[in-house]
Assembly symmetry: C2
Homo-oligomer: 163 residues x 2
């Protein structure tokens, strides 16, 4: 059986510096059907179950306008993941690849990013499809999908800069 | 002139909880041509200047395999941004929208996400196009573009779950 936090053949761990360069505040909590990492999808699917993203105070006012966007980008904290592997063997077959060439939850800063479809808004809760994280996962941020968003602020010189 | 950290008409700030729920380690530094927020692009462009992403030790071994991907997702820390606005007025015209309906750098956890084109790898430095952040921005994570990545690990039950 696959265990949850073992180091596998060929994997490489480092001694990481303390994670004290910046601090996060959890702004909400994600509710999904998956309470074990052995059941959770590797990747969300557009026709997956509808899940709930609960926004905590004092951030609820920041939701105004999200209903304009069919898709949202969600950032969440992979709170069960170790952070010290630089090489990983996802198939546990002795072959490895660098962490930055994988979307594994195990990374120096275990932040997941996903595009979800917005199904509805109920007060301070978003109903979305496409998630692939554990029930209870801490929420870090919500943004409009970058492909649907046009900046409202006026352009700046860098916007016109090409090589 | 637009100032950098003012509160504008209609904007709303909150008293945020201390950002102590999780800690980040800066894994590298992003080098761009833009040293002022008044010059920095609002959005990166595919034909923008080639920029450098420097990876610090002990994370350099984690780069192995990134060259397989034409596009990478980059997460970075918007170190100059205030974190307490829940409503913002990007055009400074009195109209406002909630922070989660904007891709503004001002957010409870000021993390930027971008898709960049990988131009080359020189040792522990990635050459990329498409960035829109200040010179010196701290790097948090690099992952393959989700649309180019197929999980290597075997599927789990949740992968087949639909509503």
């Amino acid at each position: 059986m696959v265990r949850e936090n073992e180091i596998r053949a060929g994997e490489a761990a480092v001694e990481p510096p303390p994670p004290t360069d910046a601090g996060l505040v959890f702004i909400g909590r994600i509710h999904t059907p998956w309470s074990s990492r052995m059941m959770t999808p590797r990747q969300g699917r557009a026709d997956g179950p509808t899940c709930r993203i609960e926004i905590f105070e004092p951030w609820q006012a920041a939701l105004d306008g999200v209903e304009r966007f069919e898709r949202l980008e969600v950032l969440y904290w992979l709170h069960m993941s170790r952070r010290d592997l630089v090489r990983q063997s996802p198939a546990n077959d002795g072959t490895t690849r660098g962490t930055f060439a994988l979307r594994s939850p195990v990374r120096p800063n275990p932040i997941g990013t996903l595009i979800v479809t917005l199904v509805g808004v109920e007060g301070a809760t978003l109903l979305v499809r496409g998630l692939d994280c554990l029930d209870g996962t801490p929420l870090i941020d919500i943004k409009p999908d970058r492909t649907l968003f046009t900046p409202i602020a006026p352009p700046q010189p860098g916007d016109f800069e090409t090589e």
